[in-house]
Symmetry: C2
Subunit: 216 residues, 2 copies
Amino acid sequence: MVEGIRVTGVVDAVAEALRAAAIGGELEPDRPVTEAWVAARFAVARPSAKAAIEKLVGEGVLERAAHRSARVRRLDADAVRDVYRTRRRIESAAIRELAATRSRPDAAAEADAEIATHLGGSSVDIVDPDLRFHSAIVDALGSERTSRAYRSLIEEVRQCMAQVQGRGLISVDTILAEHERILELIAAGDAEAAVAVLAEHLGRAEERLAAAVAAP
Amino acid sequence: MVEGIRVTGVVDAVAEALRAAAIGGELEPDRPVTEAWVAARFAVARPSAKAAIEKLVGEGVLERAAHRSARVRRLDADAVRDVYRTRRRIESAAIRELAATRSRPDAAAEADAEIATHLGGSSVDIVDPDLRFHSAIVDALGSERTSRAYRSLIEEVRQCMAQVQGRGLISVDTILAEHERILELIAAGDAEAAVAVLAEHLGRAEERLAAAVAAP
DNA sequence: CCCGGTATACTTGTCTAACAATCTGGAGCC
DNA sequence: GGCTCCAGATTGTTAGACAAGTATACCGGG
């Protein structure tokens, strides 16, 4: 292999690079990603390329049928809705538990602070801190399995964002205001109100993203 | 390969057989599962055995460090608690949504009917229908991602059951009564009461299993 | 002109063989 | 007794090969 540092192994490195390429939008959803192409692209043997591809298929980043080339999975409107409904389920549960102990997740507040620095800028720049805010709420539970389940959803959202390339985003002001309201309600111990704000927050994002994905 | 029918491919078949062996308790958690052993056991080449092992590592059934043999993952009390807390989060969300539309999941009722046929028998026999009851509630949402997240938890529970070999189970009567109460409350639209029963139901199972896992 | 069947090229699935890298465990030495 | 080092075992990676399956292009018939 010629590029990338070898941290754990060739397969993992290639898988990581491929994932970044898929999420970054460098791999269009419809072009086939053959084992030979991956092997040549990263200068590894075909079995290694195969293993990396299969790892990403297992994670849901790529998809492939038997004897067919892998592709970056294209997310349709139904998939977006499913992702967001599942997000809402997990985040609502997290908010309820956090509100019960009135524990304000610090990492979420920090992500909000970063969003605030982009108040005048483009919505694209806050995709990352926004996802970090939501992840921070879930991670505050300290549950390995809950966090893992949520992380895979976030990865899908990120991939989806790359697919629509910034179309259908919400204004930075609205996002920030709702985030802070959620944190306030958690600190106040008002779980139901916080969940209601979250439902609206995610619901609007869901609608926008679903529409953007459905558009040409 | 010499045994097993070839449905999709050698790797998947081996992975499936290995998973069954792990869940069924035929593979003790501490004995190393080497690639060579798997290859010999199922009469496949070592790369195929390797791929099957890595697939299960990705699913969390096996674990392995770099250059070390894989092992069946041993679940400790903390893992059991994490699994059950995550279960409660997902199931609670499912129950709330089902209660909102007062839709009684038929598949769950069917699983309960099967539990009822074992009223006098051993608690071990109802592990499967019990897990099916809970899965049916989640599956009733019709959400691919929520179901997938929940299924991986159920697999861990199943593996854990094999590990403790029937110790620490709850009486069949209690389980059945609570299941039916949950279904009633869902049908009545009383989400909070249903969630409360579920929390107690899962909480008790969590305590029992955690204790059984911690015991020698 | 369109339709269907065949042939070909491409891709994946699997295996054999080999070597490098790394870890484990014990023998030997201080 | 503790430490070092070596040999065996295991995994990591590669190369090459062949089989099997799929898609596509092509060609003949209707």
